[in-house]
Subunit: 472 residues, 2 copies
Amino acid sequence: MTAFLDRCRAIAGAADSLQYVLDSAAAMAPYLRDWRGRFTGNALAVLRPGSVDEVARLVRLCAEERVPIVPQGGNTGLVLGSVPDASGTAVVLSLARLDRIRSLDAVNRTVTVDAGVILQHVQEAAAAADCLFPLSLAAEGSCTIGGNLSTNAGGTGVLRYGNTRELCLGLEVVTPQGEIWSGLRGLRKDNTGYDLRDLYIGAEGTLGIITGAVMKLYPAPKASVTALAALPSPEHALRLLSLAQDRAGASLTGFELMSAFCLALVAKHFPALPRPFAGPSPQYALLEISSNESEAHAVALLEGAMGAAFEAGIALDAVVATSVAQSRGLWHLREHIPLAQAADGKNIKHDISLPVSSIARFIAHTEPLLQQAFPGCQLVCFGHLGDGNLHFNVAPPQGIDNEAFLVNQAAVNRVVHDAVAAFGGSISAEHGIGALKRDELARYKSPVELNLMRAIKAALDPLNIMNPGKIL
Amino acid sequence: MTAFLDRCRAIAGAADSLQYVLDSAAAMAPYLRDWRGRFTGNALAVLRPGSVDEVARLVRLCAEERVPIVPQGGNTGLVLGSVPDASGTAVVLSLARLDRIRSLDAVNRTVTVDAGVILQHVQEAAAAADCLFPLSLAAEGSCTIGGNLSTNAGGTGVLRYGNTRELCLGLEVVTPQGEIWSGLRGLRKDNTGYDLRDLYIGAEGTLGIITGAVMKLYPAPKASVTALAALPSPEHALRLLSLAQDRAGASLTGFELMSAFCLALVAKHFPALPRPFAGPSPQYALLEISSNESEAHAVALLEGAMGAAFEAGIALDAVVATSVAQSRGLWHLREHIPLAQAADGKNIKHDISLPVSSIARFIAHTEPLLQQAFPGCQLVCFGHLGDGNLHFNVAPPQGIDNEAFLVNQAAVNRVVHDAVAAFGGSISAEHGIGALKRDELARYKSPVELNLMRAIKAALDPLNIMNPGKIL
């Protein structure tokens, strides 16, 4: 293997082999450990090429030597997709040094970026050109656009702007054979053959390595304002969503659901945050309205929608932010739910999606099943209701140790995922499959679909060197 | 072959073999002739199954007998994708009898349809539920949603709502092996493995047969209003587009470019239509603004944008429709351009797209090249500027017979498509490749991309029975 590493160094390490081809345990450690700290794998080496051409040459070398490749962006994934297994036979190929914003075209409303650019830097480049790059998620200061594409990341802007998939117009990909597919097209319409772009998006690095992308930009809204509504039930949240969509159309840019238990957790662990209501209500919805016209227009739209919701008997109470600053405060409540959960101890997490119209019925169906199987368990249910995406997390009963409760993980998953399947939902809405949910995927996908995926994998990566053991 | 047809009749023709398995020349004729009447193919038979199960059984039979299958929806395609070749060895498999709207979910904002449902019927079903299905194109009274999906149809709503691809959440597909993939999911987020859906969309029936789909619905806007602006140049149209997008965001639902020559053709052949301006200007842009709030809001937004365009020296003149009825009148001008072209005689058509920012430079670059090669030729240039999509058609010089000029088709294509390639554009923006543009595709795509497509085709359709000779 020394010979192999020497050849890697000749390609990527010429300038500085200590920095660009890592093989010491200490230097490799951050690349081998998963974001949530649940797993640490092993690797032959971590390769840090500095150009697309170096990526291609390294892949050709790995193909020749049959060395598996684990592509890695910011390594912030939640499903063990970007870390190697424990065997130590693979290399991690980090895209971190491909971090240039190649170009920005404000009239075409596109930005062309290297895969290793950090999401926040894409957002900042867009803002500097008076545009919006709408992808936004908790890890945006660390995750890379290549990782966002490989996992088809979701986040808080999906209701209006779609997932990462919908934000991408073109890709550059190094194939498992080490060839470069230059598909960096900045076109809104292009019907010239098979949609390779969308095949690589969400493939979690198992079909090739995304090295560059053309992403869509949008006119930056003049203002975004929010309201927090207290509601009797998830069913009422659905009625509020429909009402707000009918009145605001694309101006409704966010619609988040939070249960009373979620806000209680936030109040417990972050007592300095505002408490908008005197007493608790069963559910809360956070609405965001954006306007390309003016802040006054956004506020008027929001007030109109909330007024109509009161008239229709949907909302129990509501706080309408009258400024952008107040709006940020309401978003903080939502954003602190995962932090409050973490402070409270580990729980059993599910990243699920459902037809929006089924969500209230899904919760009503599944919560009693969980209570029956795990009496006293506590549901931390929140998420992007407008996208049908729930973070449906199960915490232990009061007085039970969080770590001890994790022994129920598989049994809890079975209850939740069986219910998801029964309601036509997805067991991974926005995080992907990786190694973590591979067995769950095999359980819930039809043999026809699994065989189609396997046929594509075998056709594009016949040596099975691209991120093996992930997804399939 | 009698035995083969008997077996087809046992599957699809049991109820009425004369209607459902056609093999007489007269009965097959409409299925063998392309929409523009340029080509008529031959077939063993036309199969008209009545259920997804019958489709699957027919495909299994064809696979067994190695009989090529040409899937067909409304047969309104423009690239010879839905008609068989002249050999007479294939069957046409029409989806026309799969014409049920299976269900509509107004809260999830989805409609689940058979592939053979006519586009206009999908629009009508949506409207009956106070929703909008935004796909709209000239053939909507005849084309089917399965054909729209297989060609990833564009049309006039793309600027706001995207192509057919962006409107689809789930598919049901019969594979070339005659298996049924049930991917009819109505989910906004689903990251569970490879994106099979987008692989079938736009594949023109070469990878399988789409039999059903879940399509997105939108809140119906309260009103859509239009303005027609007279402009000095395409460059000014781009400036107007940017200005209107900045001010209106997603409320800008249409932006069409038309040259003076286009409107002159309309005036010549449809003298009864309104002539909004006293004298001619070099270019015109049709803007459409839609509002979920009110007609007054839409009109105010439009008037504001046009006022700003005057202040910025972008527009020479403008007509702002102050009602929905007036707006329809302005759209009629745009919609009559293809009809006026047809009345004027055949021309050499190109369905191209470019980065929006390149369009003015593309026209300035390409028109002189055409004039140099074909002195006096007349450019019929119009299209969906907001999507970067131009219908860039070349008519003969005055006094030259239209049919005679068609001899230059290949040479004209070369000038236009070479220029498209040089500007990073697409030789087929919204019509697809079919048999018509197969050689052009092979010329302009990279070997890497062609090989990736061939690998996918071979993996999913190893017998090459699905619409052979189309795309690849």
